[in-house]
């Protein structure tokens, strides 16, 4: 199983609980090996940790996380209790092309925890489980340090923290177990050891106050197994008294990151946790700057990603709340309390936006308006979003107040490159869940004067057209398109055509069908109740006899070849390939002008046009030229 599950915002994994993150860089990617908290099944202690398997995730940008699925599960561990639910904090290291996954688990017999090993040829597995746990280790939270002299060490907790040399086979202790000396009093667990600039670091969750909860702290040493010199705090206690924290530090693309966990998605139960990431900085003397928890987390979001705006970088006059307190994995939303309230979200990359629009998920109880701006609350407006929840107009009057609505808005301005987004409230209170930007599909390519001629596509469809910006017509239902009504309308418009001042565009359609509705939207705005003049010039190398013009249109249409009416599609119809055909025609050598008028009331107006020969095969032996 592989699925993209995460986004940049904290927490990074949003569809399952993850804790005790060990992040490692393998082959240029960050691999994340967390514990996997679950809701305890019946028969298990309901207020305790419960973990039955491990997933592994990977990312190249710390924003998109791919879940590679389960790598080890409790019922597969040869020595483990199949229903122990005690698969606590793991680690994974690479040595000589093999990946060694270390994990604690309850043994089949006896109490407490042992530490097992599973080996794979790739960081995603498949992992092969060793038949026995590591001899001489009773405990939890394994961490393996690969020293630059080729020696490796293992650290673990569960009682006093300990460490030992590990044999080259990575599965056996090599020598005595050493107590980690020099650490402060108070509960400690979850050792994570690494080496930087010749200095060894031992980092660990630490309860510094009586009846307190865990901080993340660290000590340094010139020797891998201590004694240690305690340095202080990396991260303070969780503000909401979530008891545990557990972490790893990793350098990726020149930046250090702290991986840790909170219980954001399980606010009432701190045994269900979720992995978060922050940037981490070292001082010149090797000490670590304290890291503050943020909602925004790390990484640059692509503008096309779903941006959880409630995970903002900074804000003014807002409140955040869970969208659904009975399903907190649904995440949170931010409420902009009044006019002038704003949230800022750093680091959104717009270089992926070509022809963009905004999509935003909002809820309000009164009609209001939002703006999405660049950089600051007074910045340039990217999009304005009127939020109309109470409509007085139309046959389907509805009250949409208090409901989540997905709204779209065109962009007034498209930022370049990476920028900060600011969502501002321009009216009444409004809540926002997420925003994202999308690109419009490409419907047409504008054809320049010097563009070379083209052939019909391989199914014979004519995709190059000169289209006049649509003329407004008062048509509310296509039932009106009777033969006599159309004939009168078309002859009227044909007589008026020489005087029409509408602008013409020469376009190549990206699709077999020419999407007149989208043309209208882009070039003339008259999308419904519109009349289109269409023209194309067909150049034939020789006479092509006995062909038929085959058309489909939404709605009615009339077709002229070299000034002669050849086909009328009348009545209430949709665009169907080869819906109607002309009588047998001759495309004469040289230039032929094919002209069409398409009229439509409601619906997505479009047409598809080709010539078919006597056998019903598409005619492609002509070209379509510019005027």
């Amino acid at each position: 199983m592989t699925a993209t599950v995460g986004q940049a915002q904290n927490p990074v994994i949003r569809d399952l609980f993850t804790a005790d993150p060990t992040a490692r860089v393998f082959n240029g990617k960050v691999y994340l090996y967390p514990s996997h908290d679950i809701m305890p099944p019946e028969g298990q202690r309901q207020d305790w940790f419960c973990m039955e398997d491990y997933h592994v995730f990977s990312s190249v940008n710390l924003t998109d996380w791919t879940d590679h699925g389960v790598i080890v599960s409790q019922e597969k561990v040869p020595w483990g209790k199949p229903d122990g639910y005690s698969m606590w904090a793991p680690d994974c290291v690479e040595k000589d092309g093999k990946y060694y996954f270390y994990f604690p688990n309850g043994p089949k017999s006896g109490r407490g925890f042992a530490i097992g090993v599973a080996v794979a040829n790739s960081p995603e597995g498949p992992f092969t489980l060793e038949p026995e746990p590591i001899k001489g280790v009773m405990g939890i939270d394994p961490c393996v340090l690969l020293d630059d002299d080729g020696q490796q060490y293992i650290y673990w907790a569960g009682g006093p923290m300990r460490g030992a040399r590990l044999k080259g086979n990575m599965k056996e202790l090599d020598g005595p177990v050493t107590m980690m000396e020099g650490l402060p009093d108070g509960f400690k667990e979850g050792p994570f050891a690494f080496k930087r600039n010749g200095l060894y670091y031992l980092t660990f969750p630490w309860v510094r106050q009586e009846k307190g909860t865990e901080t993340l702290a660290y000590a340094t040493s010139n020797s891998p197994l201590g004694p240690w010199d305690f340095k202080g705090i990396i991260m303070a206690e969780h503000a909401n008294r979530c008891w545990t924290n557990h972490h790893s530090l990793v350098e990726y693309k020149g930046q250090w990151y702290l991986f840790y966990h909170t219980n954001f998605f399980s606010p009432k139960d701190d045994k269900r946790r979720s992995v978060c990431i922050e940037k981490l900085f070292f001082n010149a003397d090797g000490t670590i700057q304290e890291v503050k928890q943020t909602m925004r987390g790390v990484g640059i979001n692509q503008a096309t990603e779903r941006i959880e705006i409630d995970r903002y970088s900074s804000a003014n006059d807002v409140q955040t709340a869970y969208i659904d307190t009975t399903n907190t994995l649904r995440g949170a939303c931010v409420t902009l309390l009044q006019k002038g309230s704003w949230v800022k979200y750093d680091g959104v990359d717009f270089s992926c936006i070509t022809d963009g629009y905004l999509v935003i998920n909002v809820m309000a109880s009164e009609n209001t308006q939002l703006c999405v701006r660049e950089n600051s609350a007074k910045g340039k407006v990217i999009a304005k979003i009127p939020v109309t929840v109470k409509s007085e107009q139309g046959a389907f009057r509805r009250d949409m107040s208090g409901q989540w609505l997905t709204l779209t808005a065109p962009l007034d301005f498209t930022p370049k490159g990476i920028t900060d987004l600011v969502v501002t409230c321009e009216g009444e209170t409004v809540s926002v869940d997420w925003v994202r930007f999308k690109n419009r599909p490409k419907y047409f390519t504008e054809v320049g004067k010097s563009a070379s001629s083209v052939q019909p596509d391989n199914q014979g469809f004519i995709r190059r057209w000169r289209l006049m910006e649509p003329i407004a017509v008062d048509v509310r239902s296509n039932i009106i398109f009777t033969n006599s009504w159309l004939r009168e309308k078309f002859s009227e418009e044909l007589a008026r055509l020489p005087k029409q001042k509408g602008k013409w565009y020469t376009l190549d359609s990206e699709n077999y069908n020419v999407k007149l509705f989208r043309f209208a939207e882009k070039y003339g705005k008259q999308t419904y109740g519109s009349f289109f003049w269409c023209e194309t010039i067909i150049e034939c190398p020789e006479d092509i006899e006995n062909v038929r013009l085959a058309c489909g249109s939404n709605g009615a249409s009339m077709w002229w070849l070299n000034g002669e009416e050849v086909l009328l599609l009348e009545g209430d119809r949709r665009m169907v390939e080869d819906d109607g055909m002309s009588q047998r025609l001759t495309l004469k050598k040289g230039r032929n002008v094919l002209r069409a008028a398409v009229i439509n009331g409601p619906g997505l107006s479009d047409m598809c046009v080709r010539f078919l020969d006597e056998k019903g095969l598409p005619v492609t032996s002509f070209t379509l030229v510019n005027k």
């Binding site: 997905t406 999308k438 039932i479 390939e577």
Partner: protein
């Protein structure tokens, strides 16, 4: 006074119902595929709510579905009912930002203590700018794979296919939607005989008697398409073969649903935008579903009339076991015919020419060559007060011009009794089969408890009708009604 008025109204309704599609108050738009729950039938429509029927024939409002929105579908998946519906979108209120939601219920009966819809979850959406409108969903549980598929969309862009998890009703992780058709709405998917079918509604809705709604179909060997029509045109290019259009004084059929009653006995549900016999209202339609060369075609509602009842077995006609009565004729030897002599029209043999000689009590039946004689002509009439079954009322079957009624007997034979008394063994359920023939089934068999759903009029031998278990694969079970 009010009370009396209501009584009178109900009498009028009953009489009218002889020619109606469904009795009761079958008013609905976009009916979901008919679902059965604890012996009752349910269908849900646009805007919330739906219809309930005890017998499949008489429908009334009362089904409950929260969430409003457009065109739901409901399907039973291992002891639970999954409902999928579209919220907002459809251009209603101006937008095309639709959402497809699913929810579960243990029962469809709003009076049951178990009746509780689970919280609806979103499985797909359209943002309003794209060529898509996420409403009008339908479900297919693929019998070959157990995978659950959902098609949705309207004229505003494409019809899309997504995969759901049949255990949770959620979108399958990582599933990417696929565009499979254009130019239709209120689609339905079904699987039969190695083919996947996509049924879409073309035309214009919501214009009363002028609505041009009609149902078309394409088919594919793969559920993900491409769906081609009978001339090889992709539904993604607007292709489609007609399944049903206006007719029978009803205009604008839309929103197909298929229900399998028995092997070879299928009905399609839809709504008609306007029923000309019911003030032009939008009503539920249930019609036989036929299959011709692996294409679905709507059959016609059987309304009765006077017919030969012809066995599919040999082509013999069901008749009273009475004496064949020769007709008098001035014979002209063929070598003596004077071509200039004017021809005469011979009258049919009349009932009164033969009836006096028939026994007065029970007369058994047999099958024989059809000679359009009085003992071979059956008048079939709906009996509205007798209730019905999915899509039809019970009928009485009598010899033309008489009260002599076809009657099932306790020993699983069939006979005629001199008068029609309305007892269940004289009431017949008549259903058109998927091959266009009919099965004819007594409502009850004397001495057997409950409704009969097993024994049909059956040609045990060329000349011998009886009652025997229905078997679609044997022509003995099948009959044709011919008016000639």
């Amino acid at each position: 006074m009010k009370h009396i008025v209501y009584c009178l109204l109900s009498v009028v309704c009953c009489q009218l119902s002889i020619c109606k599609a469904q009795v009761g108050a079958p008013y609905i738009h976009d009916p979901s595929t008919i679902a059965e729950c604890e012996g009752k039938y349910y269908t849900f429509g646009t805007g919330g709510g739906g219809l309930i029927s005890e017998d499949g024939w008489s429908w009334h409002s009362g089904a409950e579905r929260p969430g409003g929105g457009a065109a739901p579908d409901v399907m039973k998946i291992s002891e639970r009912y999954l409902c999928v519906y579209g919220a907002t979108g459809g251009g209603l209120g101006g937008g095309h930002n639709g959402r497809i939601l699913t929810m579960w219920n243990k029962t469809l009966d709003p009076k049951s203590p178990d009746f509780k819809w689970s919280k609806a979850i979103e499985v797909a959406s359209s943002d309003g700018m794209e060529d898509q409108d996420a409403i009008d969903p339908s479900l297919l549980l693929d019998p070959t794979t157990g995978r659950l598929w959902c098609s949705y969309g309207t004229y505003f862009g494409t019809i899309r296919l997504i995969e759901l998890d049949p255990k949770t009703g959620e979108r399958v992780k990582g599933n990417v939607e696929k565009d499979i058709a254009i130019d239709c709405e209120a689609t339905d998917l079904l699987y039969r005989n190695g083919w996947y079918y996509l049924l879409g509604t073309h035309g214009t809705c919501c214009d009363g008697v002028n609505s041009t709604y009609n149902i078309v179909v394409g088919r594919a060997k793969n559920v993900e398409g491409p769906y081609f029509d009978n001339v090889g045109r992709d539904m993604f290019h607007g292709g489609g073969k007609m399944v049903i259009a206006a007719g029978d004084r009803k205009a604008g059929p839309g929103h197909f649903g298929r229900t399998i009653i028995d092997e070879g006995v299928e009905v399609m549900s839809c709504h008609f935008e306007a029923d000309f016999d019911l003030s032009g209202r939008s009503t539920l339609g249930i019609l036989p579903l036929l299959w011709k060369n692996d294409w679905p075609v709507a059959g016609e509602r059987f309304k009765g009339g006077t017919f030969e009842i012809e066995s599919e077995r040999r082509g013999y006609s069901l008749e009273l076991a009475v004496d064949f009565v020769r007709m008098e004729q001035e014979r002209q030897r063929f070598w003596q015919i004077d071509p200039n002599e004017p021809v005469k029209v011979l009258p049919n043999q009349k009932l009164e020419d033969v009836v006096e000689n028939w026994p007065k009590g029970e007369i058994p039946v047999r099958c024989s060559d059809y000679m359009f004689r009085p003992w071979q002509r059956w008048t079939i009439t709906p009996v509205p007060e007798a209730g019905g079954y999915l899509g039809g009322p019970y009928f009485r079957i009598v010899i033309e011009g008489t009260e002599r009624a076809l009657t099932a007997t306790a020993n699983l034979e069939v006979t005629t009794t001199p008068s029609f008394t309305g007892t269940p063994e004289q009431l017949w359920r008549i259903e058109q089969l998927t091959d266009g023939t009919y099965r004819i089934m007594p409502k009850a068999i004397p001495g057997q408890e409950g409704l009969n759903t097993r024994f049909v009029l059956y040609s045990i031998a060329d000349s011998t009708p009886t009652l025997a278990p229905y078997d679609f694969n044997i022509d003995n079970s099948k009959w044709n009604f011919r008016s000639h």
